[in-house]
Structure formats: structure tokens, C-alpha cells
């Protein structure tokens, strides 16, 4: 059973469909969300650690500040299942709100 991902983890995984370093992830997520999601450095660091442990992402060559991360195929499966879940939430929400608007 797919568990809902937090918003931060979801966006970090999406960002890593291309290899990026930590700061690059924080910047692209802020851009994609139009400034809404500003990941903290501590939060991003902790999430990257967790995602590596779960083998959803892996590191490419590079040391320290230049370390780059990329999503694994297991990570991609998780993201795809999550998009399906989000679609379900979106469709149900739109349906109910729209029905309300018609009254």
C-alpha cells in the first residue's frame, strides 16, 4: 500500500529525475511551486539521508558540496504511485467543490 509522501519529499524526488546537488534541489522546487515551497537546508539534508537509506535516490560521483543525487528506478515507482494517489485526491476534491458551486 502506497503511503502518502510529504510535499517536500515528493518535490525532492521529482527534482532528482535530473541529477542535482542539494542547493539545486531547493532552487528548482521553489521555482516549480512558484515560491510556495521553500525547503530549509536542515529539512533537505534530513530528507536526502532518509531517501538514500530507502534506496529511492543515490549519489553520483562528487564529494562534499559538489555531491550530486539522482532518483533510482525504485524511487520512480514510488513517485508514479504518488502521482496516481494525488490524481485521486484532486478528482474527488474538484468533483465535490464543483457540485457545491452549482447550487
Amino acid at each position: 500500500m502506497q503511503q502518502p509522501l510529504t510535499e517536500g519529499v515528493y518535490y525532492i524526488l521529482l527534482a532528482l529525475y535530473e541529477p542535482r546537488h542539494g542547493y539545486g534541489i531547493m532552487q528548482i522546487v521553489e521555482e516549480w511551486s512558484d515560491g510556495r515551497v521553500k525547503l530549509g537546508a536542515g529539512t533537505t539534508y534530513g530528507a536526502l539521508k532518509n531517501l538514500q537509506e530507502k534506496k529511492f535516490i543515490e549519489t553520483l560521483a562528487g564529494e562534499g558540496r559538489k555531491k550530486e543525487y539522482v532518483i533510482t528506478s525504485l524511487g520512480k515507482q514510488i513517485v508514479e504511485a504518488e502521482v496516481t494517489r494525488i490524481k485521486e485526491l484532486y478528482n474527488n476534491g474538484r468533483k465535490i467543490i464543483k457540485a457545491e458551486g452549482d447550487l
Binding site: P4, T6, E7, G8, H21, G22, Y23, M26, V37, K38, L39, G40, A41, G42, T43, T44, Y45, G46, A47, G64, R65
Partner: protein
């Protein structure tokens, strides 16, 4: 400029450093019990303090500090596991932890340290105090028991504040994802 100040509450210390910064006094270092400041532009920087995991040394701590610095945050001072960070205000709002669950795990880290210290001091105070009950000539135990009791009472304040912050965050986390 130097200022004499002792804080029992990490949130208040951070607030005070940011208040000083908004008046143009930028925190430079803390060497117990003196805070040093440099004169600069008012409200140029935002400061954050953090208690690192463990004792603040070793590979994990260095890796973390390196990561934080790679995002454009400066380490102003590091004393054991206690770090002062700052970021230029032009880079926008500065938070190390942006969601509720990572904020909670950070507060739990602080709570563990405070509560361990408090329990150790309470036990020491009780042992020394109980011994005193039976033999009042033990002056040294009396001093130590008093000291332990003092430290224990002093720790109750930050501990209570930490518990309060934990409770608030947990209430939020039950409803909001982050």
C-alpha cells in the same frame, strides 16, 4: 561591542541576536558570558541557532555543516554542538527546518539533552540529600546536593518551554502534513 548575557532558553537567545541585528549589531561570537557584536547595516542578516546531533564533532557533523554552507548560509560560530548560522536578508526568509515533522525531530533532540541533564542532576541531588539525612556532618555532600538541586531547578525552565513547543507542534502535525 560586548554584552554580558546568559540565556536559559535557546529560542530567546536566537530572538535577542536577531533583535540586535535589526539594530545594526551583528553577532560575531559568544564566549561565556560575553556576546561580541560588529557594527553593520541594520537588518542585513537573519540568524538561526542549532544544537547539532551528538557532541557536534565527527564526520556526520562536518558533512551537515558543509551541506548547509553550500546553500549560501554562513556559520558564524560553532561551540561544541551549538552553532550560530546567518543568511543575508536578500536571500529571503531563512529557516533551517521548513516542515513540522523536521521541526519536531529537532525539538525532540533538544528535549532529550535537557531531560537527560535534569534527571541526572535530580538523582545526584537525591543521593547526596538522602545521605545527609542520616549524617549531618557531611558538608561536602550538602554542597553538592545544593548544587545539583540548583541545576535541576534551572533546567526545569528550558525543559518546560521545550515540552510546550513539542505539544504545539504535535497538535499541528495531527492535522497538517507539514
Amino acid at each position: 561591542m560586548r554584552k554580558f548575557k546568559i540565556f536559559m532558553d535557546d529560542a530567546k537567545e536566537e530572538q535577542w541576536i536577531n533583535d540586535m541585528a535589526s539594530q545594526g549589531w551583528h553577532f560575531k561570537s559568544f564566549n561565556f558570558p560575553l556576546y561580541s557584536f560588529d557594527k553593520g547595516e541594520p537588518a542585513e542578516y537573519e540568524y538561526r541557532t542549532e544544537m547539532l546531533e551528538g557532541f557536534g564533532y565527527g564526520k556526520a557533523a562536518n558533512e551537515y555543516l558543509d551541506f548547509v554552507q553550500s546553500t549560501g548560509i554562513e556559520v558564524v560560530q560553532k561551540r561544541f554542538n551549538w552553532v550560530y548560522f546567518r543568511q543575508h536578508k536578500s536571500k529571503g526568509n531563512f529557516e533551517l527546518y521548513s516542515d513540522q515533522s523536521s521541526k519536531l525531530s529537532y525539538i525532540n533532540r533538544i528535549f532529550t539533552i535537557y531531560s537527560t541533564l535534569a534527571v541526572l542532576n535530580l538523582i545526584a541531588a537525591i543521593i547526596n540529600g538522602s545521605v545527609l539525612l542520616l549524617d549531618e556532618s557531611l558538608r561536602f555532600n550538602s554542597f553538592i546536593a545544593g548544587l545539583n538541586t540548583g541545576v535541576f531547578i534551572a533546567l526545569l525552565y528550558p525543559l518546560a518551554k521545550t515540552v510546550y513547543r513539542k505539544q504545539n507542534l504535535k497538535r499541528e502535525i495531527a492535522m497538517y502534513e507539514k
